[in-house]
């Protein structure tokens, strides 16, 4: 490799090998936040590089599955000097308990962050009983 234009990386003094095989998908679990509000659950996953077109949010009766492919960022005439973003697929699954309104699940992506809103079903929502 031509080292004349080498770039030095400052990260705890460590360096990863510059070249790695790219044919196989490298899967990583996205960093996730999840909270339960009164009427819904909100899941937020970091999926940098993923877009509306490359992300998949799958709902099964008791399972939510999220996956996203991210493009390999190399061109024909490009030399990889240093590579840390080795993954090209994000996947994560969540078990869905009872009391979820499956049809009402929505997902939105912005700035590489996926937000999935999982509404609770009517049966489990708090209900005020009118006093007669």
């Amino acid at each position: 490799m031509d080292r004349s234009h080498a770039v030095v990386i400052h990260r705890n003094g460590s360096q990863l090998p510059a070249h790695r095989p790219e044919a196989m998908p490298v899967v990583v679990t996205p960093v996730t936040d999840l909270y339960e509000a009164e009427r819904e659950y909100v899941v937020r996953l970091d999926v940098p590089g993923a877009t509306r077109e490359t992300i998949r949010v799958e709902v099964q009766p008791a399972r939510l599955h999220v996956s996203a492919d991210v493009a390999v960022r190399t061109g024909a005439d490009v030399t990889v000097q240093h590579r840390e973003i080795v993954w090209n697929r994000f996947t994560r699954s969540f078990n869905l308990g009872p009391g979820i309104h499956l049809e009402g699940i929505t997902a939105a992506i912005a700035d590489g962050v996926l937000t999935v809103r999982i509404p609770k079903s009517e049966e489990v929502l708090p209900r005020n009983i009118a006093i007669q």
């Binding site: 990386i9 990260r11 909270y35 339960e36 940098p48 993923a50 240093h82 973003i85 962050v113």
Partner: protein, 129 residues
């Protein structure tokens, strides 16, 4: 009874602690062709208004800040892995850079900085006579 009250408030204090504001080093790729060096960095949740790219002497510094997740009152946090608020990293560039032509873009949480090589740093083919 005392413990039932004390434990949640202690946890709240924990999650509010500035320890979660410790800047994290984003993962980067460094790519190169004959004309440019390209730095690609992961910055999920960072918007254009909250990112800065500076080049001083031969060091490129990228910095991005993300807003914390807004959690409604009374909500119960079940998973909290996103603990990075600030991404910051400095890279020393090992060749002369045409500083007036540096460009940066932020798309889908990926920051991309293009550092064009100065004329002296570009590869030159010498014709053999």
């Amino acid at each position: 009874m005392f413990i039932r009250v004390a434990v949640p408030s202690f946890l709240e204090e924990l999650t509010d602690t500035p320890a979660f504001d410790t800047p994290a080093s984003p993962a980067v790729d460094v790519l190169e062709n004959g004309h440019d060096t390209v730095i690609v960095a992961e910055m999920p949740g960072v918007t254009k208004e909250n990112v800065s790219v500076t080049f001083e002497r031969d060091v490129l510094t990228i910095k991005g800040e993300r807003k914390p997740l807004e959690i409604p009152e009374k909500a119960r946090v079940l998973m909290h892995e996103q603990q990075t608020r600030t991404f910051v990293r400095s890279l020393r560039i090992g060749h002369d850079v045409d500083r007036t032509a540096i460009s940066a873009s932020l798309e889908n949480g990926m920051l991309r900085v293009v550092l064009p090589k100065a004329e002296v740093a570009k590869p030159r083919v010498i014709e053999v006579r």
